[in-house]
C-alpha cells in the first residue's frame, strides 16, 4: 500500500538516475533525464478504476528536485500540496507549514532507497522490477514489470515515456485500475522559493 507508493516514487526517480544496465537505450534515457536535476511541470493525472463510473482527473503543478524529493501541488478538483521527500510525506497548509501524513514509519526506508538511487545506484528498483526499454532517445518508453510475485499480484506494470524530459507515467493495476499522469510545460526549475526549499527540507 504505502510501500507500493514508495516503490513507484522511487521508480520515477530511478528514471533520472544513472542505471547500471547493459541496455544502451535505457542508459541514454537515464543519462538524459539526469541532466535536469530541477524540473517544474504541469500535470494531469487521470485515474480509471472498475469502481469509478468516470475517470478521476486532477490537475496541478509539480516541482522535482534531484536529491530532495518532489512537491505535488494539486489545484483541481481541490487544492493541496504534498511534499514527498526522502524522510517523510507531509501535507503543506496555506502558510507552508508541513503536517506529517500517516505512515511516518515507512519513510526511513523510502529515504534510504532514494539516497541509494540518487547516489547513482537504482539497485532497489532494478531488484523489484524488470525493465524493458523501447523507442529512440528522442521518443522512448520504459516498461517496469514487478519481479516479486507478491507485488505482481497487485501491480501490473509501470510505463514511463518521454523525449528530452519525462512526459508521462502510466501505472496499471491488476484489478483493472490505471493511473495516467501526463506532464506538460516541462522546464528547468531555476531557483526555489523559500517556501519550496523549506518544504523539501534543507539538506
Amino acid at each position: 500500500m504505502r510501500r507500493l507508493t514508495a516503490f513507484l516514487l522511487c521508480c520515477c526517480l530511478a528514471a533520472v538516475a544513472r542505471a547500471g544496465t547493459d541496455d544502451a537505450l535505457l542508459r541514454t534515457v537515464l543519462d538524459g533525464l539526469a541532466r535536469h536535476p530541477q524540473v517544474r511541470a504541469e500535470f494531469v493525472q487521470t485515474r480509471s478504476s472498475p469502481a469509478l463510473a468516470q475517470p478521476q482527473v486532477s490537475r496541478g503543478r509539480l516541482l522535482f528536485v534531484l536529491g530532495r524529493g518532489m512537491l505535488w501541488q494539486v489545484e483541481s478538483p481541490y487544492r493541496e500540496t504534498l511534499a514527498l521527500t526522502g524522510e517523510r510525506t507531509a501535507r503543506l497548509d496555506a502558510q507552508g507549514r508541513a503536517q506529517p501524513v500517516r505512515g511516518e514509519r515507512g519513510v526511513g526506508q523510502v529515504s534510504q532507497m532514494l539516497q541509494s538511487m540518487l547516489a547513482g545506484r537504482p539497485d532497489e528498483v532494478l531488484r523489484q522490477f524488470e525493465v524493458a526499454a523501447s523507442g529512440s532517445p528522442a521518443r522512448w518508453s520504459l516498461r517496469f514489470v514487478p519481479r516479486q510475485a507478491r507485488m505482481a499480484r497487485v501491480l501490473g506494470a509501470i510505463v514511463l515515456d518521454g523525449g528530452d524530459y519525462l512526459d508521462g507515467i502510466r501505472i496499471e493495476m491488476q484489478d483493472g485500475a490505471a493511473t495516467d499522469i501526463r506532464f506538460s510545460g516541462t522546464r528547468e526549475a531555476g531557483g526555489l522559493s523559500a517556501l519550496e526549499a523549506r518544504a523539501l527540507g534543507g539538506s
Binding site: L9, L52, A53, Q56, V74, R102, R150
Partner: protein, 792 residues
C-alpha cells in the same frame, strides 16, 4: 571414648557421607536433563510489587527467549538471499529446532484485508479520527483526495469498499505495515546503507528451539547446528555475515564463562592448597585427609542445594569452587594440632583442644552465611545454602571422620614455615606493642583515609549479569534493522476487564503518540492499536454516523465524486457493520505474533503489555505512564539495581552492628582491656580493604559488602584460633600462627582467584576477600604479646 568407638563413629560417618553423595549423584545425573541453571533471569530477585509484573517479565523473556533471531547480511543482494534460504533449510533439517522461518508462506493481500471489511465503520486511524472530529470536516473533499491520490489509490482495500480510504489508513497504522522488514522474494528483507555508502542486504531468519534455551542439551545441539550451517554458508556465499540474538546465545556464553571460572578457581586453588599442605605437613597423608574433609563438604553442599532448589546455579558453582579454601580450614586446624602435639598426640584429646576454636569458627561462618541467605536474591540464597551445608559437613567430618584416621602422631609442621611465621609474628607483635601500636594504628588510618574518601558505589544490575559485548552489539544491530523493542522495559496495563485494559492502553497510547511526534520515541507495540476498545470503536463509529444518517445523500456524494452507482449503493448499505471484538481478533491468525502481549484475565483482573521502541531513557518512559490508572512501567534492570542499592545500605549497617556485637563476646572471653586488640585486626582488615578498593577506583557494590561480612567472620576466626591455640602450642613458638597463616593462604588461594572470574560480582567479591583476609592475617599477631625467644 575408645579406639573402637572412634572407628564406629567414623564408619557411621563414612556410610552417611556415601549415602549423601549417592543421593547427590542421582539428583545431578539420574533425572535426565542437566540441573545446571544458566538462566540469567533466574538469578534475579523478584522485585515487582505486583506478581503479574513478575510474570510479564518471564513471559517476555520467553517470547523472545526460546528462539534464535538471525540476520544474514551481505553486500550482494542475491548472495544474501541465497545464503538465508540455505541457512533456513539447513536449520529446518535439524532436530534442535521446532520450526524455522526463512521463506514466507504464500500470502494474499486480499485475504488478509477481507476480515476487516465487516468492521470498517468502527476502525479509524489517528489522523482520520482527528480530522473527522473537526467542525469543518468536508467528507466530499476527503473522498476527492483519496480518489486522486498521486500514483496509486485503493491498493489492498479496493476503492469500492473504502472510497474515503479510512480502512486503508487504519491498516497502514498496523504493526505489520510499519515493520522495517519487507517481504521480498518471499523473504523478510531490509536494506541498509553502510557508512561507506555501500548498500547491504539483511535477511531475517528465525528459528524456534525444540526446548528451553536454558536446557543444556538443547543449547549445545542448536549452537552446533548453527555453527555447521554458518560454516557452510560462508563457504557457499563468501562475504556473508551472520548477526544473532536470543537467550540461547547469552546462556551459552554465561555457561562457558562459568565453566572457565570453575576450572580456573577449582583447579588452581586445589593445586595450590595441595602444594601448601604438602610443604607444611611434610607428608601426603594430611593432604589427602584435608581433601577428604573438603570433599565431604562439597558433596553435602551440592546435595543440599539440589534438594532445596531442585537445580544448581552457575554462580553457586563458581562460588562453591572458591568455598573449598574455607572448608579446608577446619581440618587444617586439627592437622596442625596433631603436628604440634608431636609424640604426645592423642586423637580425642586433640579434638577437645581444637573443639572450642572450631565450633566458634563454624558458628561465625554459619551466622554470616545465614545472613547472606536472608537477602531475597535466589542466587544468594543458593550460595548461602551451599555454603552452610558445606561448612557444616566439613566441620563435622573433623569430629566424626578424621580422629579415626589420625591415630598416630605426625611429624611437626615444617620448620621453615614455623620460622617464617614466627619471624612475621614477632615483627608484627613488636610493631603493635604499646605506644608503637597506637602510632601504627594512626599511620594506617592516615594511609587509608584518602582511599575511603575515594570510595564510590555502583548498583548496576550488570554486575550480576556480564553479557559479552560482541553479543550485545549484534543484538543492537538486529534491533536497529528490525525495529524490535529492547524487552527489558515495558508497560503493564491492568484493568478489571479486557475492555478496561484496552481503554487504559488507549490513554497510554495518546501519551506515546505525543512522544513519537516529538521524536522522543520511535514507536510502540500494543494490542489496542490492533483491536481498539469497544468504547473507542463506538466513538469512531459515532464520528461517522452523521455521514451515513442519510443514505441517499451519501450515495449522491459518492456518485458525484465519480463512483459507480452500484458501488455507492453497496457501500452505503454496508453500514453499520459490527465492531471488532477483542476475543475474536485474538483468535485470528493475524493476532498470533502479538498474542504474547495479552496476559489474560485472572484473580488480579486482566492485563496486557505495551512495548515501547527506540527510547532507552527510563525517565521519559516513566513520565508517559505517570498518573494513568492501571498503567505502570516495569523496568526489571532498574528494579534490581534499586534493590542492590537498598541491600548495600543494609549490609553496611549490618557490618557495623556485627562489630558491636562481637566486641562484648571478646570482652567476656579475653577481658575488656585485651578486647580492642583482639578485635582490631579484623576491623583494620576491613578498613584497609575499603581503602584499597578506593585507591583501585573500584565502586562498592552489594557484593563488596558481603565479602566484607565474610572478612569480619573469617578475620575474627583467625584472632580466635590464635588466642585459643597459642596456650596449647607454647612449646613451639610460631606454630599456632603458622596454622593461622595456612588457613589464610588457602582462603586467599580460592577466594582470591575469584578476582579473576568472568562475573563482575564475583570479581569484586574475590578482590575484597583477598584484600581483607590478607590484611587481617598479617595484623593478627599484633593482638598477642611478642612470643618468647626461647624456642625448644
Amino acid at each position: 571414648m575408645s579406639r573402637r568407638g572412634l572407628h564406629l563413629r567414623a564408619a557411621w560417618f563414612a556410610a552417611a557421607t556415601v549415602l549423601v553423595a549417592l543421593l547427590g549423584a542421582w539428583l545431578l545425573f539420574g533425572r535426565g536433563g542437566s540441573p545446571l541453571q544458566t538462566d540469567l533471569l533466574a538469578m534475579l530477585p523478584a522485585t515487582e510489587r505486583h506478581p503479574l509484573a513478575e510474570q510479564a517479565v518471564q513471559r517476555l523473556a520467553h517470547a523472545n527467549g526460546d528462539r534464535m533471531v538471525l540476520l544474514v547480511e551481505n553486500a550482494d543482494d542475491a548472495r544474501a538471499k541465497a545464503a538465508a534460504r540455505a541457512l533456513g533449510k539447513a536449520l529446518a533439517g535439524d532436530k534442535a529446532f521446532a520450526s524455522v522461518l526463512a521463506e514466507l508462506p504464500a500470502f494474499d493481500l486480499a485475504q488478509f484485508v477481507a476480515p476487516y471489511l465487516a468492521h470498517r465503520f468502527w476502525l479509524l486511524g489517528d489522523d482520520d479520527r482527528a480530522a473527522l472530529a473537526q467542525p469543518g470536516y468536508d467528507p466530499a473533499q476527503a473522498l476527492a483526495r483519496h480518489l486522486n491520490e498521486p500514483f496509486v489509490a485503493g491498493v489492498g482495500v479496493p476503492l469500492a469498499d473504502d472510497p474515503f480510504g479510512w480502512l486503508q489508513h487504519w491498516l497502514e497504522q498496523q504493526p505489520w505495515s510499519r515493520s522495517p522488514l519487507l517481504p521480498e522474494d518471499d523473504l523478510l528483507v531490509a536494506h541498509q546503507t553502510d557508512p561507506a555508502g555501500g548498500e547491504r542486504t539483511l535477511v531475517l531468519v528465525t528459528a524456534e528451539l525444540a526446548g528451553s534455551a536454558y536446557d543444556d542439551a538443547v543449547q549445545r545441539r542448536a549452537l552446533a547446528a548453527l555453527a555447521r550451517a554458518e560454516q557452510a554458508m560462508q563457504h557457499d556465499d563468501p562475504g556473508t555475515t551472520l548477526l544473532r540474538t536470543g537467550a540461547v546465545f547469552y546462556a551459552a556464553a554465561a555457561r562457558a564463562g562459568a565453566e572457565r571460572d570453575v576450572h580456573l578457581v577449582g583447579w588452581i586453588s586445589t593445586g595450590g592448597i595441595a602444594l601448601l599442605l604438602l610443604w607444611a605437613f611434610r607428608s601426603p597423608g594430611p593432604l589427602l585427609l584435608a581433601f577428604l574433609s573438603t570433599a565431604v563438604g562439597v558433596a553435602a553442599a551440592t546435595t543440599a542445594t539440589l534438594l532445596v532448589f531442585g537445580q544448581i546455579h552457575l554462580l553457586t558453582l563458581v562460588f562453591g569452587a572458591a568455598l573449598l579454601g574455607e572448608a579446608v580450614d577446619y581440618s587444617i586446624q586439627y592437622l596442625a594440632a596433631r603436628a604440634n602435639a608431636g609424640a604426645r598426640w592423642e586423637p580425642l584429646a586433640g579434638l577437645r583442644q581444637v573443639r572450642p576454636a572450631l565450633l566458634l569458627a563454624l558458628a561465625t561462618s554459619l551466622l554470616g552465611y545465614a545472613l547472606l541467605g536472608l537477602v531475597p536474591f535466589p542466587a544468594l540464597r543458593q550460595m548461602a545454602v551451599f555454603a552452610m551445608a558445606g561448612m557444616l559437613a566439613a566441620c563435622l567430618s573433623v569430629f566424626g571422620l578424621l580422629p579415626a584416621l589420625l591415630a598416630r602422631p605426625a611429624r611437626p609442621v615444617a620448620p621453615s614455615l614455623v620460622r617464617l611465621a614466627l619471624a612475621l609474628q614477632r615483627a608484627v607483635a613488636r610493631l603493635g606493642k604499646g605506644r608503637r601500636g597506637l602510632a601504627l594504628l594512626l599511620a594506617l588510618v592516615l594511609l587509608a583515609a584518602p582511599g575511603w574518601w575515594l570510595l564510590r558505589h555502583d548498583d548496576d544490575v550488570h554486575l550480576l549479569i556480564a553479557q559479552p559485548p560482541a553479543l550485545l552489539a549484534q543484538e543492537r544491530a538486529i534491533r536497529d534493522a528490525t525495529g524490535l523493542g529492547n524487552g527489558s522495559q515495558f508497560y503493564l496495563v491492568q484493568g478489571a476487564s479486557a475492555e478496561q485494559v484496552l481503554q487504559r492502553e488507549e490513554a497510554l497510547a495518546q501519551r506515546l503518540q505525543a512522544l513519537v511526534r516529538d521524536g522522543r520515541l520511535h514507536d510502540w507495540l500494543g494490542l489496542a492499536r490492533m483491536a481498539p476498545s469497544q468504547a473507542r470503536q463506538r466513538a469512531d463509529h459515532a464520528l461517522l454516523a452523521p455521514l451515513f444518517a442519510d443514505p441517499a445523500r451519501l450515495r449522491k456524494m459518492l456518485t458525484d465524486a465519480g463512483l459507480r452507482a452500484d458501488a455507492a449503493a453497496a457501500y452505503a448499505a454496508a453500514w453499520p457493520g459490527a465492531p471488532l471484538k477483542f476475543e475474536d481478533w485474538l483468535a485470528t491468525p493475524a493476532a498470533t505474533p502479538f498474542r504474547y502481549l495479552w496476559m489474560g484475565c485472572g484473580a488480579h483482573g486482566c492485563a496486557s503489555l505495551v512495548l515501547p521502541q527506540g527510547q532507552d531513557d527510563v525517565r521519559v518512559l516513566a513520565a508517559a505512564a505517570d498518573g494513568l490508572a492501571g498503567v505502570s512501567l516495569v523496568d526489571k534492570p532498574a528494579s534490581v539495581s534499586a534493590l542492590f542499592g537498598r541491600y548495600r545500605g543494609y549490609a553496611s549497617v549490618w557490618l557495623l552492628a556485627a562489630v558491636l556485637l562481637i566486641a562484648p563476646v571478646f570482652g567476656w572471653r579475653y577481658g575488656w582491656r585485651r578486647m580492642p586488640r583482639v578485635l582490631a585486626p579484623p576491623v583494620l582488615g576491613i578498613g584497609l580493604a575499603l581503602a584499597a578498593l578506593g585507591y583501585l577506583g573500584q565502586p562498592l557494590t552489594l557484593f563488596h559488602w558481603m565479602a566484607l561480612m565474610l572478612v569480619l567472620g573469617v578475620g575474627a576466626n583467625y584472632a580466635v584460633f590464635l588466642h585459643e591455640g597459642e596456650p596449647h602450642a607454647a612449646h613451639r613458638p610460631g606454630a599456632m600462627y603458622a596454622s593461622v597463616l595456612l588457613s589464610a593462604v588457602t582462603a586467599l588461594l580460592s577466594f582470591g582467584l575469584l578476582a579473576l572470574s568472568s562475573m563482575p560480582a564475583l570479581r569484586g567479591f574475590g578482590l575484597t576477600l583477598l584484600l581483607g583476609i590478607g590484611g587481617t592475617a598479617l595484623l593478627v599477631p599484633a593482638s598477642r604479646p611478642v612470643p618468647a625467644d626461647t624456642a625448644p
